[in-house]
């Protein structure tokens, strides 16, 4: 996850006055925020800029030693990420089947993909899954973060309880929800039955399978988004909110004009990671439905796995991977346009 976070942060901070210190980030963000609310930000910015230690500014000039620190990661990145990615592209131009000699087939794998009904189904299913999960993961994450940020009794326990599922292994999550969703003896249908609702074939009905998987995913990963938002909330200066309240702003307006704009860096990270992670959904579906029933939960990564490692069509599977990459890059670019904080 780190290699995703770093470029995001760099992208966001680039072009701002300061690059390294988190506190400085908050300052520049605040400046933007204050401008957005139509007030003069000069005074605030100046007074806070004085707080920035000198060393932070000096850090802007990279010393060659810095590269030494980056080197171990860079080597691992090239060996295990970048290199294989390039090789993967080359494989996608062949008909390689793991065994035997690969024949170069040019772009024919990509052409085949465009008319492969199962691939198109898998893309559509993935889009459906992203729609089902991403907005609710982001909004619910934000709501939960706001909730557990209040000074309430038991908030530590609540935070822990919400974050806990995220620590559980994906396969375990799948197995747990298989039990919960069991049509004949699952606990979910048992409780629904108390209200007179007939047993739902959660995972074996094509209509409910994807929503069921989405529910499990929401339970599993919403805690992660909550934690990022919660961290973002700690960066929102209490003074600004208090000042707005003194000026008579309603709680909603404080949230809308102060908290939300200042949360933008966190929002950017959450949106980006949620989109990437939901688009690449695999584990829980592999365990819970395997892509069925009748292809209802077949997602692109599942299809990739199926083609490359079950049918041994490595070239074709690699082509799927590159289509996924293109879609993800496109999503990231759209997001940079849409979210104001990414206009570096």
């Amino acid at each position: 996850m780190n290699e995703i976070l770093h470029p995001v942060q760099n992208g966001r901070v680039n072009g701002h006055e300061s690059r390294v210190c988190g506190r400085a980030n908050a300052v520049s963000t605040m400046a933007t925020a204050l401008k957005a609310t139509g007030r003069s930000a000069d005074a605030a910015t100046k007074s806070m800029e004085a707080d920035i230690p000198k060393s932070t500014r000096r850090a802007r000039q990279y010393s060659p030693v810095a590269y030494l620190f980056v080197l171990p990661y860079l080597i691992a990145f090239v060996l295990f990420r970048f290199g294989p990615a390039i090789v993967g592209f080359l494989i996608s131009l062949t008909d390689w089947q793991i065994v035997g000699k690969p024949n170069v087939v040019g772009l024919s794998n990509y052409r085949l993909l465009m008319s492969d009904p199962q691939f198109i189904t898998s893309l559509a299913n993935t889009g459906y899954f992203v729609l089902l999960t991403a907005p609710s993961l982001i909004l619910l994450g934000l709501l939960l973060a706001l909730l557990v940020d209040q000074r309430l009794h038991g908030r530590v326990i609540t935070r822990t309880a919400i974050f806990m599922p995220y620590v559980v292994m994906s396969t375990v999550v799948g197995v747990i929800w298989l039990w919960l969703f069991n049509k004949e003896s699952g606990i979910l249908n048992y409780y629904l039955g108390l209200f007179g609702i007939r047993p739902v074939a959660w995972l074996t009905d094509p209509a409910t399978a994807m929503p069921a998987v989405a529910m499990a995913t929401l339970w599993w990963t919403v805690g992660f988004n909550m934690i990022i938002f919660l961290a973002g909330l700690q960066d929102v200066p209490q003074e600004l909110e208090d000042a707005a309240r003194v000026d008579g702003a309603s709680e909603f307006n404080v949230f809308r004009h102060i908290t939300l704009p200042l949360l933008a860096p966190a929002t950017f990270v959450v949106v980006m990671l949620t989109l990437i992670n939901t688009f690449q959904v695999f584990d829980q579906i592999y365990v819970m439905t395997g892509g069925g029933p009748s292809l209802a939960t077949l997602t692109v990564i599942l299809y990739l796995y199926d083609q490359a490692f079950t049918a041994f069509r490595l070239g074709y599977g690699s082509a799927v991977a590159y289509v996924v990459l293109v879609v993800l890059v496109a999503l990231a670019l759209i997001q940079r346009r849409l979210l104001p904080e990414s206009e570096a």
Partner: protein, 447 residues
């Protein structure tokens, strides 16, 4: 400051404690008299790797057999590695490329062609005979299952096939005497109907029966690739073959196929004796939601572990004119390698396992070796009767190099899609079967 000192003292003590533990632990392990009967250690030990996809109780049975072999053969030490079949096959294919292949590789008879066609397995020639076996020593489907293009590639280990498990208490309560041999499709439906009860105590077919409020079902069965396997058995019961002679396309009377699918679909949607869209048929049977279950003998250990369950087995119903049931069988292969000495050692190990496969019966699978099934060890095992009666009638899937595509168990596989469409979604049989045929023919044409 004081707390820092205290902390470092604690850490030091803890580290010392750990360090002190390490040497102390060793002497207690070293003299452990685990192999008192072991002969004197030989100068050279051949270490062999054995891979198999047995991840349940079957893996434990094979592990204990391997241990017994190692204990009695100090010059050869076998290590068994188990992993689920699909990832295991991935690993196997890659391992041969890098020269790290196992010395013994387990698979199923129908898996042989895909690996043989890739050149990962070599024909055994007359090795199986040299190790002292002949065709008549084995159940015929098992022996036949080790051949591809009239060359033998493996030693037959066992057979396993669909059969019917029943809950003895539930049958007794319904006044049904459990069958012991093959019964007709109609009789089977009759039993399943008697065992299906709605909340008012009515059975399917009774006036006022409410299929929406069924309390107990007669039967649990799989709606994944096993749905196709059942259909394949019924097709064979009608005397048809799935593929044409050169295995390049589907070639069976489509009307017969429709009859077979319709019979299966009716169990769910006409007779209501099978719950539609079951998540876990085995679990439904074990927990008493259903009175019967169509599954293989690999579930026998699960039956034995279920406290309070009284169970038995009888053959898959004979719906059409012939007896036939889908099945498969584990085989042991010697992957291609450069060291003939290791190859010979691996073959000797396999021969020993086959000779002693009466023990393997504990895994639920039926030993392919006739003599192994005749041992007292095997005969003492409960609940095998139904499967044993089926042995001569077992039909395996056609042996195809493109098996992993045509008969894949993945969600994208035409055999899974057809099964789920008909048995879960109640789609019309002729259209769905036509779609299956098109998809399978496309896959067959790829090679």
């Amino acid at each position: 400051m004081r707390t820092h000192i205290l902390a470092s003292v604690f850490v030091t003590i803890a580290l010392l404690g750990l360090a002190a533990c390490a040497p102390a632990a060793q002497p207690t392990q070293a003299p452990a008299p685990t192999q008192p009967a072991q002969p004197t250690a030989p100068s050279t030990v051949t270490k062999l790797n054995f891979w198999g996809g047995w991840t349940g109780p079957d893996g434990d049975v094979m592990r204990s057999m391997v241990k017994q072999y190692n204990d009695t053969h100090p010059d050869v030490q076998v290590t068994l590695t188990t992993q689920q079949w699909t990832p295991l096959f991935d690993k196997f294919v890659v391992s041969v490329q890098s020269g790290n292949q196992p010395d013994i590789m387990a698979m199923h008879g129908p898996d042989i062609p895909q690996f043989a066609a890739k050149g990962l397995l070599e024909p055994l020639g007359n090795v199986v005979t040299q190790e002292g076996f002949k065709a008549s020593d084995f159940a015929q489907p098992a022996w036949d299952g080790t051949f591809y293009q009239s060359q033998q590639y493996a030693f037959p280990l066992d057979l396993h096939m669909h059969g019917v498990y029943y809950n003895a208490d539930m049958l007794q309560k319904a006044g049904i005497t459990p069958p012991t041999d093959w019964i007709s499709g109609d009789d089977f439906v009759k039993i399943a109907t008697t065992l299906t009860v709605d909340t008012n105590g009515k059975h399917p077919g009774d006036a006022g029966f409410d299929p929406q409020n069924i309390q107990q079902y007669g039967l649990a069965m799989y709606d994944n690739h096993h749905g196709f396997y059942m259909w394949y058995a019924l097709l064979n019961q009608e005397g048809d073959h799935l593929l044409n002679a050169n295995q390049a396309a589907l070639d069976y009377p489509q009307a017969d196929g429709e009859k077979a699918w319709t019979w299966l679909q009716d169990l769910v949607f006409k007779y209501h004796v099978v719950p539609a869209g079951e998540t876990n048929p085995l679990q439904d049977f074990l927990s008493g939601k259903t009175a019967m279950l169509i599954d293989g003998p690999w579930e026998i250990p699960a039956m034995q572990q279920q406290a309070g369950l009284k169970w038995g087995t009888f053959p898959f119903p004979q719906v059409f004119q012939n007896k036939a049931v889908w099945g498969s069988g584990h085989v042991l292969t010697v992957p291609k390698q450069s060291d003939p000495k290791r190859e010979a050692a691996a073959e000797a190990v396999i021969a020993w396992i086959i000779q002693n496969s009466g023990m393997w019966g504990q895994s639920g699978n039926l030993p392919a070796l006739n003599a192994a099934r005749a041992t007292d060890t095997f005969k003492a095992l409960p609940g095998r009767a139904g499967f044993l009666a089926e042995m001569p009638y077992e039909v395996m899937l056609p042996a195809l190099p493109a098996e992993a595509q045509v008969f894949s168990a993945a969600a994208t596989s035409p055999i899974v899609v057809v099964s789920q469409s008909i048995l879960i979604q109640d789609k019309t049989v002729p259209d769905t079967e036509q779609a299956m045929n098109n998809a399978m023919n496309a896959l067959l044409a790829q090679r």
